[in-house]
Structures are given as structure tokens and as C-alpha cells.
């Protein structure tokens, strides 16, 4: 009981913040106050005002609308990355953990070596193979994030494998597939859920860094990292450009990291 009250302030504030951000992003998918691409030569570099909540950029475009659109695509990319890597990672991890053997040994070694390298460095190499673009960012980060999920799931499955409820299920003639995904998988959720939120944050941050470096999402598409890279040129004349785009990244990441911290504390970790 004591642990629950302690974790809840993080869980609640994280849920509220990420909930608000998700709602804003959903809103941005259907409606933005201005068109994100509408240029207005008479309204260049306007500081934040009631008409333009976050000001306007070098083309007189409304930054709030552009942040909504950029956050939208960053969110979508991160979601795809996490879905891709989580599904594959859980699949690999569960099979390795449950069956063990030589394949487990080899795959674990490979995963360990991949996680030893910073994601950005590997993403740079992968993107120089595939070329930049939103799809390739998803592919690069998706592959790079598999090991973290595989490692976690492997450990959990190896731990559950020899427990009595699994043994009895096996004796009762339950099929391997059902044991893996109906009996063991739900038990890994308390560990998996914080990992998903952390993975989501890493995806947001990595995508932003890659787009910032020009090896991620390309200029005709929208991304918060791309906006930050643009805004750097106008740091002197229009600092609100950077604040708007950067603030969105920070709030998005903060919401989910509070959420994962809350979840972990709830688990008593």
C-alpha cells in the first residue's frame, strides 16, 4: 500500500501530461488553427500572440500549427518503431527464453553486442545504407530497438519457464504456443510496459536527433527535429521558433518518462 501512494504522483502526472499531449496530437491530425504550410509574407517572425500562440517562422507560417503537425509525424514514427521492435523483440525473446539452446546463446550475444553501441551511431550506418526518409528511420530504429525488448522478454520467459503453473499447464497437455502467449506473456507485462514507454521516448529522441542531423525525415515532410534544425538559423531573430519545437519534444518525452517512472514505482522496483 505504501509503495502505491509513493508511485502514484508520478503515474498520475505522467498520465495527465502524456494524455494531454496525445489529445493535442490527435487534434493536430484533423485540425490545426492555420494550415501548417500556409505562408504569409506579411506575418514573418511574429512573436507569440493570441493570434499565433507560438509565433510565426521565416515564411510567416504558424508555428503552433507546424508543431502540431510535426509532433504528429514524430509520434507516428515513434509508435511504428516501438510496435515493430516490441513485436519482433518479444517474439525472439520469448522463443529464446523458453527453449534456450544454441540459438538462444547466439542471439543473446548478438543482442548484447548491438546494445553496447549507441543507437545514433548505428542509425547513421543504417541510414547511409538505406538513405534518409521517414520509412527508413522507422526501419533503422525499429531494428536497433529489437535487442532491448528481446533481452527483457528473454529474461522473464527464462524465469517463468520452470515455475509450477507452467509445469502443470504442460502436464495438462497445453500446447507450447498457448503456454508462451496465453500463460507466460501476460506475466511479463509489468516489466514490458515501462520498457515500451522508455522505448517510445528513445524513439522520439532518436528520430528528433536524426532529423536534426539531416539523416532522418526529409524537408518536405514534417518533424520536430527538422523544425529544430531550421529554427537554429533564426535563434537570434526568432527564438520562439526553437522554444516551440523543442518544448514539444520535451513535453512529449517528459509525459512518457513520468509514466514509465510511475509504472516502475508501482511495481515496487
Amino acid at each position: 500500500m505504501k509503495k502505491k501512494t509513493k508511485g502514484n504522483s508520478f503515474l498520475y502526472s505522467g498520465a495527465v501530461l502524456s494524455g494531454v499531449m496525445t489529445l493535442l496530437i490527435l487534434l493536430g491530425a484533423f485540425w490545426t488553427p492555420y494550415s501548417p504550410t500556409a505562408m504569409d509574407a506579411s506575418a514573418k517572425f511574429q512573436p507569440p500572440s493570441p493570434a499565433h500562440l507560438l509565433g510565426t517562422d521565416n515564411f510567416g507560417r504558424d508555428i503552433f500549427s507546424r508543431v502540431l503537425q510535426g509532433a504528429d509525424s514524430s509520434f507516428l514514427i515513434a509508435l511504428c518503431v516501438v510496435l515493430f521492435s516490441c513485436v519482433l523483440g518479444v517474439l525472439i525473446g520469448s522463443l529464446c527464453g523458453y527453449y534456450g539452446g544454441l540459438a538462444d546463446l547466439v542471439l543473446t550475444r548478438i543482442c548484447d553486442s548491438i546494445t553496447a553501441f549507441p543507437a545514433i551511431l548505428l542509425a547513421l550506418v543504417v541510414v547511409s545504407l538505406t538513405g534518409p526518409g521517414a520509412g527508413n528511420v522507422v526501419l533503422a530504429l525499429g531494428i536497433l530497438f529489437i535487442p532491448s525488448f528481446a533481452r527483457l522478454t528473454r529474461g522473464e520467459f527464462a524465469r517463468c519457464r520452470d515455475q509450477n503453473y507452467i509445469k502443470s499447464a504442460r502436464i495438462m497437455g497445453v500446447g507450447s504456443f498457448r503456454i508462451l502467449f496465453r500463460h507466460i506473456l501476460p506475466n511479463t507485462f509489468p516489466v514490458l510496459l515501462p520498457a515500451v514507454t522508455i522505448g517510445f521516448n528513445n524513439a522520439i529522441l532518436s528520430e528528433a536527433s536524426m532529423s536534426f542531423l539531416g539523416i532522418g525525415v526529409q524537408p518536405t515532410e514534417a518533424s520536430l527535429g527538422l523544425m529544430l534544425s531550421d529554427s537554429q538559423t533564426y535563434l537570434q531573430s526568432a527564438p520562439w521558433y526553437a522554444f516551440g519545437a523543442g518544448g514539444a519534444v520535451v513535453l512529449l518525452v517528459l509525459g512518457f518518462s513520468l509514466l514509465s517512472e510511475g509504472l516502475q514505482r508501482q511495481n515496487g522496483a
Binding site: S113, P118, L258
Partner: protein, 313 residues
Amino acid sequence: MKQILRKIAALIITLFLVSLLAFLAFQVIPGDPTTKLLGTEATPEARAALRSQLGLDRPVLARYFAWLAGVLRGDFGESYSYHMPVWDMLSDKLPLTGLLTGLSFLFTLLLSIPLGVLAGSIRSRALDNLFAALDQVVMSVPPFFIGMLACWLFGLVLRLFSPGAFVSYEDSWTGCLAYLVFPALSIALPRTAMTVKLLRGAIRQEMEQDYIRTARSRGGSRARQLLWHALPNALIPVITFMAVSLAEIMTASIIIEQVFTVPGIGRLLLASISNRDFPVAQAIVVLLAAWIVLVNFAADLLYQLADPRIRLR
């Protein structure tokens, strides 16, 4: 001793594999470097001649061993774009990135240990939550955004330095170091927040152990319990994390160099990737990868030195 020898053997094998993978990655890249060098209208004969001159017509493994033999002698090949030895392009940029990484690591170390001990010793629940929340906020800011904020606040508003006007260490050592303080801090802050979180957790855990209760019952002050008894044990997991940090800091400096226009290897790497200048990109990736492997190896050794219980096993 036997264990250390085995670890060194594993290290050499890992370095070999890492260099092979990095080499192969840049060989399967679509896009013929001869197109870049000769333009799209070159005749097939001219291309073939250049390919054999660059050695691109030989089998991949033969090229790898030729390249590796060169690397071991300090010869990283020749840049496609600038027609000069890759090593000459790297040699004046490596110390700069090294300096930035070192400075940043130093800041992380100097900030996170006192702050971690402080966070671990807070006894008020509200204060502890406040500190943890603050920590979480700092962790959520990407280093390049901190860099931009620093450029804006300290560079453009307070005019403590001029962003973009990098001072080469050849001109002035102190000027160069002073310029690197802000980029280094931009990388160090989120890293510090992560280390503080880890150290805080480790100290909390140690403070509940029996040996601390014994120390308390013997009348040791709380500062002595914390610093003399709990801290050394709490630092053991931090050592491994610090090794990861050292690798992450090095790659974060690739990004930060763009923000502060520091002419280090990060900028060179990005330029060479977009120019398809693979010998340069390959050399940098291999060097960074070797660095990461070596740092992890050093952490592994340090970890054993720090904790005799692991050595005994």
C-alpha cells in the same frame, strides 16, 4: 590472470568482428563511388579503370584484409572527395572531439556524484519527489536542444561566448576550452540526471543493508554511514553505467558539434556520409566502434577491481 588473458582474447575477437562489420556495411551501400568521382557521364571503360585503381574489383574479403593491414599501420586509405590520406583528415579533428568528450565526462562525474549522494540522503518524502521530478525533466531534454538553449541564453542574450565562432586550439588553448564548456555541459546535463537517478537508487538500497545498521549502532555519524560505508558500494553499478555514458557522450558530441559548429569528427562523419566518401566514414565508424568496445572492456576490468566479490568467483 588467466581470466584477464581470456578477456583480452575476447576483446581482440570483438574488435576484429566490429571492424569487419563496419567495413562490410560500407561495401553493400548502394551508389557507386565512381559515379561520385567521375560524374554520371563517364564511359564504362573509365569507370572500370578507376574501379581497379581503387581496388574495388577485388573480392570483398581481400579488400577487407588489405584495409585492415593498412589500418594497423595507421593507414586508413584515401578520401574519395579530397584525395588525401584519411588519417590526415582525422588527425586534427580527433583531439577536438576527444577533448569535448573528456570535458563532458568530467562534468558528468563532478556533478552527478555529489548530486546523487544528496538525492540519496534526502529523507523528506516531498523533497525527494520534487528532486526526482526535476531529475526526470532534465532527462527529457535532448542534448542538442539544451545546446540551442545555451547558444541562445549564454551566447545571444548574455553574450558570454559567440556561438559559431569556434576558437581553434592552435590559436588559443584557453579560448578553445572556454568555447567547449557549453557544448560539454549540454551533453553532460541529461547524462548527469540519469547517473543521479541510478546513484540515488543504489544509495537508498545500500542504506537499508545490515552493515549500515551495524555502523549506525556503533555510533557512526550519518555522513560517515553515507560517504564511507554506503557510497563505495553504491558506486559499483555506476561504474558500468559510466562506461556506457562515455560511449554515449562520444556519439552525443557528433550531434552537439553541429549545434556549436565545432569542427570535430562528428561534422566530418556527417559530411562524408552525405558525400558518399566511404573511406572517411568507414574509418570514423570503425574508430568510434573500437572506442566503445575498449571503454566497455575497461569498465569490465574496473568493475572487477572495484568489487572483490566478483574477482573471487
